[in-house]
Amino acid sequence: MSVLDNLFVKIAALVRTTLTGLGLGDIWVNLAMVILYLAGILGVMMTAALVLVLVERKIAGFIQLRPGPNRVGPWGSLQTVADTIKLLTKEDIIPACADRKVFMLAPVLVLVPTILAFAVIPFGKGMIATDVNIGIFYLIAVSSLATIPFLMAGWSSNNKYSLLGGMRAVAQMVSYEVPMVFSLLGVVMIVGSLQMSAIVEAQSKVWFVLLQPVAFLIYVIAATAECNRAPFDIPEGESELVAGVFTEYTGMKWALFFLAEYANLVLVSAIATTMFLGGWHGPVLPGWFWFFIKTSIMIFFFMWMRWTFPRVRVDHLMHFGWKFLVPLSLANIFITGIGVYLYKTIGW
Amino acid sequence: MITLQHYLILSAILFCIGLFGALSKKNAVAILLSIELMLNAVNINLVAFTKFLTPGELVGQVFAIFVIVVAAAEVALALAIVIAIYRQRNSVAVEDLDWMKW
Amino acid sequence: MGMPLLSIIVLAPILGALIILFIPENEDRIIKWVAALFTGVSLIASIYVYVSYDQAKGGLQFLEDIPWIEKFGINYSLGVDGISLPLVLLTAIVIFTGVFASWGMTKRVKEFFIFLLTLVAGVFGVFVSRDLFFFYLFFEVAVIPMYILIGVWGSTRKEYAAMKLTLYLLVGSAFALIGVIAVYLYTGLGTFDIQALTAFKYDPFFQKFAFFLMMVGFGFLVPMWPLHTWSPDGHVAAPTAVSMLHAGVLMKLGGYGLVRAGIFLFPEGAVFWSPVIGLLCIVNVVYGAMVAMAQKDLKFVIGYSSVSHMGYVLLGIAALNTISINGAVAQMFAHGIMTALFFALVGVIYDKAHTRVIADFGGLAYQMPRVATGFVIAGLASLGLPGLNNFVAEFLIFVGAYKTYPILAILAVSGVVITAVYVLRVVQKVFFGPVNPKWADLTDAKGAQMVPIVVLCGVLILFGFFPSLLIDVINNGVDPFVNTYLKHITVGGGF
C-alpha cells in the first residue's frame, strides 16, 4: 500500500539518485528535477484539458438529454483529437488594425499564471513542486495575473466586442477576487500558516469544508467567476458579445485560450480540494488518487453548474459580487476570528 | 555572492531611471509610473538593509509594505484626477495643463 | 506713583480711536468732538507733566514699569526727561490743533480720525518710552496709518507719495531695528532698558558699527540728505492735519532717536561719525533752502524748508556739546510748532482756493488778514527773528557748533539768509503785491480753523519771550549726559 501511496515520490527520488550518480552538480540536478515536475504538471494539465473538453460535452449532453459527440471514435472519444488537429492546421488571422505585438502576446501569457499556480499544488503526499512558505499568498498573487492577458486580448483586437469583453472580464475577475481572497483567509486563520503542505496537514482530522462551509460556498462561486465560466461567462457571452475577447482570435491562439480555460478549471478545483476538502487525505486509497477523485468531483460540480444555471446579467453579476459576497466574506472573517479566538482561549 | 552593495546599486539605478522618467516624461501617467519605479527602488533598499544589517528583524519589510500601500493609494487618487482632467480636455500631457501660469 | 500720566497721554488717543470705531459713520460732528476731547486729554496731561517736572531732581521722572515680555526682558517702561518733555508737549499741541485744522473734513471722517489718533499714539509712545523695544515698536505704529492717511485723504500724487514715504520710513526703521537687536545681543544684559544700555561700556568698533546703523536708520527720518526725498513729497501729498503732524512731529522722531539711541548709547561712535553728519547737514541746510526757493507750490516750499531746518538740528547733534544739543532739541520743538502753523495755514488757504500754486495768488492779506498774520509770524519765526522761539534755538545751535565746527557753523548761518529770501518772497507774492481778482470773494479763517493759528502763534511767542521755560528743561536732560560721557572726548577739528 505504502508503495502505491508514495509511487510518484519514489519515482522522483529514483530519478534524483540516478542523476546524482551520473556525477551532475547539485544545481543541475535540481534543474532537471524542476523540469521533470514541470513536464509532469504540463502533461497532466494537457491531458486533463483534452479529456475535459470531451467530458464537458458529454455531461452537457447528458444534462440536456442529448447524446453529445458520438461520431469520431467509440462514443465520440476521439472528438478532441480531431478538434486539436483542426485547430493546429487552421489559418491564423491577425486583424489589420490590431495591436500586433499585444495581440500575439496575450495568448502566450494566458497560460502562464495557471502553470505558475500549479507549482504549489500538493497532488499527494510530498507531491508538490515547490512548497514555498507563503503558498496561498503566492497563489492569490499569481492567479490575479490572469486578468492581464484578458485585458491585453480585448484591447489589442481593436474590436468593440473584444474590448467590451475584455473590460467585463477584468471587472468581473477583479470583483470576485475579493471574496475569494477573503474566503481563503478563513482557512489561513484556522491553520496559522500559508504553506500548502501545512494546510493539508491541518485537515488530517477534519476537512475545512465543515469548519468553513460559508467560505467554501463563497469560494466555489467566486472561483466560477474567476474562470469566466457560466453562469458567470459574460466576458464571452456569445448572445451579446459574439465571443467577447476571443472574437478576433483564430487557430492556435484561440486554442491556447481554450486550453487555459480548462487548465483553470482544474486549478480551481485542485485549490478547492486542497483548501477545503482535505487535500490528498483519505482512507485506503493512495493520497494522489484521493486527490484525483476529489478534484474530479469538483470539476464535475463546476460543469454541472455551467449547464444548469442561465447566464447572469452583467449588473446582477456585479451586484451579487459586491453587495452579497463581499459583505458575507467579511462577516465570515469576523466570525472565524472570534470563533478561533474563543477556541484558543477558552478551549472549547 | 550577492552582497548588500549589489542591492544598493540596483536600487540606485532604478531610482535614477525613475527620477529621469519623472522629470522628462510628458504624460501624467508615465510620470506616475516613473515615480512608482522610484518607490520600488526604495523598497529594494529597505528590504536589503534589513536582510543584511539587522537579520531577524522585519522592520524594513514592514516599511516596504507600508510604502506599497501608500503607493497604491497615491496611484488610485492620481488616476482619478487624471481621468477628471482627461474628461475636461482630452489630454493628459503635463504641458497641456496651462490654465494657470506654471 | 500716583496717576500713570504718561500712559494716559499715550493711551488717550487709542481709547478715542476705539470709541470712534463704534460711532456710526455719519455722525461727523460727534466723531470730531470725541477726537478733540481725547487729544485734549493728552494735551492737558502733557502740560501738567511739563509743568510739574521736578527740575531740581532732574533725570527721568513719571516712571512707569510693567514687565511685558519675560523672554527678552522687555518692559513697558515709560518716563520723561528734559529731552523728551518738550517733544511730548509739542506732539500734544500739534495734534490738538491738528484736529481742529481738520474740522472741515467731510470724506470718510470716521476712518480719518481713527487712523490719525492711532498715529499720534505711536508718536507719543516713542517720546515717552524708556525701553528700546517699545521705542521702536511705537515708532512703527505710526507708519502705516500715515500711509493710509496720505493715500486716502491726500492730494497731488498721493498714492506714489504715500508708498514712497512708507517704504523710506520702513527702510530706515529696518536699519534701526538691526541696531537695536545688535545692542541687545552685544550687551547680553537681557534687557532693552535704555538707561541700563547707556551705562554699558561698548568697545569702540561696536560703537562705530552700531552708531552707523542708527545714523542711517534715523537719518531717513530726520531726514538727512540724501535720504530726504520722501519728505517733501509726503508733506505735499498729506492732508493738513497729517502734514502738521508729519512735519511737526514725525521728523523729530529721527532727531530724538539719534540723540536717544545714538549719541546716548554710543558716544564714541557718535564722535567718530560726527564729521559725516556735520557735512551732510550742511548740504541739508543749504540745498534744502535753495530748492525751496525754486518751488512753485506753497506746500513744497514749506516741505523743503523743513529739510533745511532739520539740517540745523543735525548740526546741533553733530557738534556734540551741551549747548549745541540743547539747541538741537529746542530747534526740534520750535520748528515743530512753526511748521505745523505753516501747514495749518496752507491748509486753510487750500480749503478755500483749491490751489497752492504761489504764482496764482496775490494780495490775499486783504481777504484773509488773520491767515496773513499767522503766516507772517510763522515766516518770521522761520528766518529766526529774535523774540520768536526759533531764534533761541538756532542761536544756541550756532554757538554750540561754532565751538566744534567753525566753518560749518558759518556756512549754516548762510542758510538763514537764503531762508529769509524765500520766506519773504512767498509772503510778498501770496499775501501782498497786486490783488488777483480771481480770489476776491475768499473768506478768512474762522471758527475751528482759528484754533491752530491762535494756539500755535501763542506758543511761538510764549517760548520766544521766555526761552528759559524751554531751555532749562532741555538742559536738565542734556547736561548730565554730556558731562558724564562726552567731557573727555574732543570732537571736531578740520571744519
Partner: protein
C-alpha cells in the same frame, strides 16, 4: 529558500516557452492565405464605424478602485491571519478595528453608488 523561488522562475520561463512553442507549431502547419476581407475587424458582417479605443464607463474605474483597497488590505490581513493566534488580544482587536474601518469605507462606497452598474 532561493531554490524554491528559482523553481518558480523556471515555471515562468517554461510557461512562456510553452505558449510560444504552441504558436510555432501552428505557424509551421497552418496555411497562409491572407485576404483583405479576412483581415477586417469582425462586427457581425457590418462595416466598423468609429474608433474602437474610446472612453468607457467610469464604473470600471470605480470597481478597480474599490478592488485596489481590498487587495492592498490583503497584504495586511494575511500576515495577521497567520500569526493572530500567537499575538494575543491586542492584535486581535486591532485588526478588527482595521477591518471595521475598511467596512466603513465599503459602506461609503456602497452608499455613494460605486457598485451601481448603470
Amino acid at each position: 529558500m532561493l531554490q524554491q523561488y528559482g523553481a518558480i522562475g523556471l515555471f515562468f520561463i517554461f510557461g512562456i516557452i510553452f505558449g510560444f512553442a504552441a504558436l510555432a507549431t501552428n505557424w509551421l502547419l497552418r496555411p497562409k492565405k491572407p485576404h483583405q476581407v479576412k483581415l477586417e475587424t469582425y462586427e457581425c458582417g457590418m462595416e466598423t464605424i468609429g474608433e474602437t479605443w474610446v472612453q468607457f464607463k467610469i464604473n470600471y474605474f470605480l470597481y478597480a478602485l474599490v478592488f485596489l483597497v481590498f487587495d492592498v488590505e490583503t497584504i495586511f490581513l494575511y500576515p495577521w491571519a497567520v500569526t493572530f493566534q500567537k499575538l494575543g488580544f491586542f492584535a486581535f482587536v486591532e485588526m478588527f478595528i482595521f477591518l471595521a474601518i475598511l467596512v466603513v469605507g465599503f459602506w461609503y462606497a456602497w452608499k455613494e453608488g460605486a457598485f451601481e452598474w448603470q
